[in-house]
Symmetry: C2
Subunit: 147 residues, 2 copies
């Protein structure tokens, strides 16, 4: 398979295939006649796996690690399971944060209904956001950011 063929087969942008190849997630051979990349069905499996893992939130280095372990005839399963569980915890934290955000936003919108479009003083920036409470600074004041 050439780049566009494997890209179409996996439903991704050809540039993503090229990028993954540069990043050594795919290791195609070369057609010596024209120097084109040659991908086989194993590459397609790897590519599809990589895309699915990306959807789950795995990083490219993690995916490369998993694929390389598989290449070395180690089962990557235990490692994947750990990363997976870690990722699940992250997803749950993200959900909680977004839900809090949503509540604050809907409450703000409700409060907004009662405010006029223009504030009496053109100098004041929209009061609502201006007086938005900081989200609970979880552990101690004056932290720089949430990293």
């Amino acid at each position: 398979m050439k780049v566009k063929e494997i890209a179409d087969a996996a439903g991704v942008n050809p540039d993503t295939v090229r990028f993954y190849t540069r990043e050594k997630l795919l290791q195609p051979t070369r057609n010596p006649d024209n120097n084109y990349q040659q991908y086989d069905t194993e590459d397609l499996r790897r590519l599809r796996f990589a895309r699915k893992a990306r959807q789950l939130g795995f990083s490219l280095p993690e995916i490369r690690q998993i694929l390389n372990q598989a290449d070395d005839h180690h089962s990557p399963c235990p490692m994947v399971r750990d990363v997976f569980q870690h990722r699940l915890a992250e997803v749950e934290r993200e959900i909680r944060e977004l839900q809090q955000l949503r509540e604050r936003m809907t409450a703000a919108l409700a409060a907004w209904q009662d405010m006029p479009d223009g504030t009496p003083d053109g100098h004041t920036i929209c009061r609502l956001i201006e007086h938005w409470d900081d989200p609970a600074p979880c552990c101690g004041a004056n932290e720089q950011n949430e990293g």
Copy 2:
């Protein structure tokens, strides 16, 4: 105020202050003696506003637009309200997607309990992810990505 002073007052990294200044979100004057930036309390208000808006998911161009409108003595409120509502819809979509992801992941973990750590064939990449279903391709097949 100098850079570090306003940064501390807003609880951000001094480099963020410099970055926002470069990006014209803050427009301090100069101390002609030493060429240092001089921020006033209005800059501090703008900086705090910007950080809060960032927490809500506003982009820097959006924030700049809001601040500039305020500078021009227009009330940015109606615009902010629109962007805000748009952002709320996004947050809700993100929550839905993450919740779906969580369900799929917990289901996968449960299925995983029944699988051995190593697969019999070292060549096969961990079956579970490999056979992970694509998340419902919402409207038509073969879309490149979710943008």
